[in-house]
């Protein structure tokens, strides 16, 4: 059942990633900076959940390289974290699809914790260990936003018939 007529509306995926990248570096006031949701992992989780036959670890890898380029981190740091996110989501996607929203939130929290841990681990090896407690704030905020994000993304996906 692999043969689809054509990759329809994959630009929706591209547009969502572009929006996620823009939101990732959108200037915020200093106090809000630590609460900024991790948009790129959220988008990756959504597409791995609902479009696993097209979006997976390879997409995540390239998205991660772009994030690395934008944020000035080591090349491969965000790529590694996002590959882990995609892998975990693909592994769980059949179960998570039928979960009620609050259970989905818990799973997303776990996957994003893995993401944050991977980044923290690499940063730790480089000597960036300050502010360790604050690193979990974006994870909590992002997981709490998951129901709304999935609503918006599902609407976009249906409207533009992305499959």
């Amino acid at each position: 059942m692999r043969e689809f007529s054509s990759p329809r509306g994959l630009w929706t995926v591209a547009a969502s990633y572009l929006a996620a990248l823009v939101l990732t570096i959108w200037p915020l006031p200093d106090w809000a900076e630590v609460f900024r949701p991790v948009w790129v992992p959220l988008v990756t989780i959504y597409w791995c959940l609902w479009l696993p036959e097209r979006i997976g670890v390879v997409t995540a890898f390239f998205a991660g390289l772009l994030v690395d380029a934008l944020s000035g981190t080591l090349l491969g740091e965000h790529a590694l974290a996002l590959v882990l996110v995609a892998w975990a989501t693909l592994w769980l996607h059949l179960q998570v699809r039928v979960f009620p929203w609050w259970q989905q939130c818990v799973v997303v929290l776990g996957i994003l914790a893995l993401h944050a841990f991977a980044l923290f681990w690499v940063d730790g090896m480089l000597g960036y260990t300050l502010g360790a407690g604050l690193r979990w704030m974006p994870v909590l905020v992002s997981a709490a936003l998951w129901p709304w994000i999935t609503q918006v993304m599902a609407r976009l996906q249906n409207r533009y018939r992305t499959a």
Partner: protein
């Protein structure tokens, strides 16, 4: 909605495995990339290419601000411009008057330095750059500016603003470059306390407005409000530019060093414009750090053989 999807997606029951091999392969690539990038820094071309790919994203983020500036320029009224012009002329006159005195003082300073046989201050050329985006990671203080190698920007270049040292260029691309701020936790700058000449190091903290001076002894003569300037000893930053103002000094007899913090002199959190600094005498190509390495290594080896 979920029902709709389940009917449409034929992959629900025949999904491929998560691709363990592919995942492992990619993870391996990531680790190799990171190690290679960290230890050799030889991935400049890839960095430059990726920076060019993400350039549109930075343009989009910067668009509202540029639009606002552009609209402000277009919509400025005649009266406003005349007022601004008068104000600027007044300030220029004031600055000129101060500059006359400055020129005399500089000459006197130079003469005194010659008498003391001290190295003279490096002066240089500056040029304005705009900050197009700030770092995504709140724990790393980094900004991207709109000048790149095409404008003569080089790695290790000092970046200033109107009030003091901002940081240094850490990565360059043709159209943009990354500046790591002095408040970044991974940065340190050689400084001296202006009042006493005490030399020490200022390192970044997690806070954008704070530096910490961890190696000031308890007996040191430092007061709150003291100006801290760059000493130029590391060979990276020019000497004599403001770095910070001591905001906290606490003697701590239980530990070898006092707790000293400084507020950054430069306005790191807010400005939209920075100044790139080109030293006058030394051309950009000659970098100080690589030179001593070849002479040091043989000595070290010889020392080992002897012992």
């Amino acid at each position: 909605m979920a029902v709709f999807r389940r009917q449409r997606s034929p992959q629900l029951f025949s999904s491929r495995p998560a691709g363990a091999l592919r995942t492992l392969f990619l993870i391996l690539i990531c680790i190799v990339l990171m190690v290679y990038d960290h230890q050799t820094g030889r991935l400049k071309q890839i960095h430059a290419a990726l920076a060019t790919v993400v350039w549109p994203v930075q343009v989009i983020v910067d668009a509202p601000h540029s639009l606002l500036v552009w609209a402000g320029d277009k919509l400025a009224t005649h009266v406003h411009l005349v007022n601004e012009n008068a104000d600027l002329k007044g300030r220029l006159l004031q600055a000129d008057a101060e500059l006359q005195q400055f020129a005399a003082l500089q000459q006197e300073n130079e003469r005194l330095r010659n008498l003391m046989q001290a190295a003279s201050h490096v002066s240089g050329r500056v040029s304005v750059a705009m900050i197009v985006s700030a770092a995504l990671d709140p724990f790393r203080h980094m900004v991207v500016i709109d000048k790149g190698t095409g404008d003569g920007v080089f790695e290790g270049q000092t970046v200033l603003d109107a009030y003091g040292i901002v940081g240094q260029v850490t990565r360059t691309a043709p159209l943009a470059s990354e500046v790591t701020l002095i408040s970044d936790p991974g940065q340190a700058i050689q400084v001296e306390v202006n009042r006493t000449g005490l030399r020490t190091l200022a390192v970044g903290s997690a806070d954008l407005t704070q530096l910490s001076l961890p190696y000031v002894t308890n007996s040191a003569d430092v007061k709150e409000g003291d100006l801290v300037v760059s000493s130029g000893l590391g060979g990276r930053y020019p000497a004599g530019y403001p770095v910070g103002i001591i905001s906290h000094f606490e003697r701590n007899p239980a530990e070898p060093f006092a707790h000293v913090a400084a507020r950054t002199a430069a306005d790191l959190g807010h400005g939209h414009e920075v100044l790139l600094f080109w030293p006058a005498q030394t051309p950009p190509q000659t970098e100080l750090p690589p030179k001593p390495a070849p002479t040091l290594k043989p000595q070290a080896k010889a020392g080992k053989k002897k012992s």
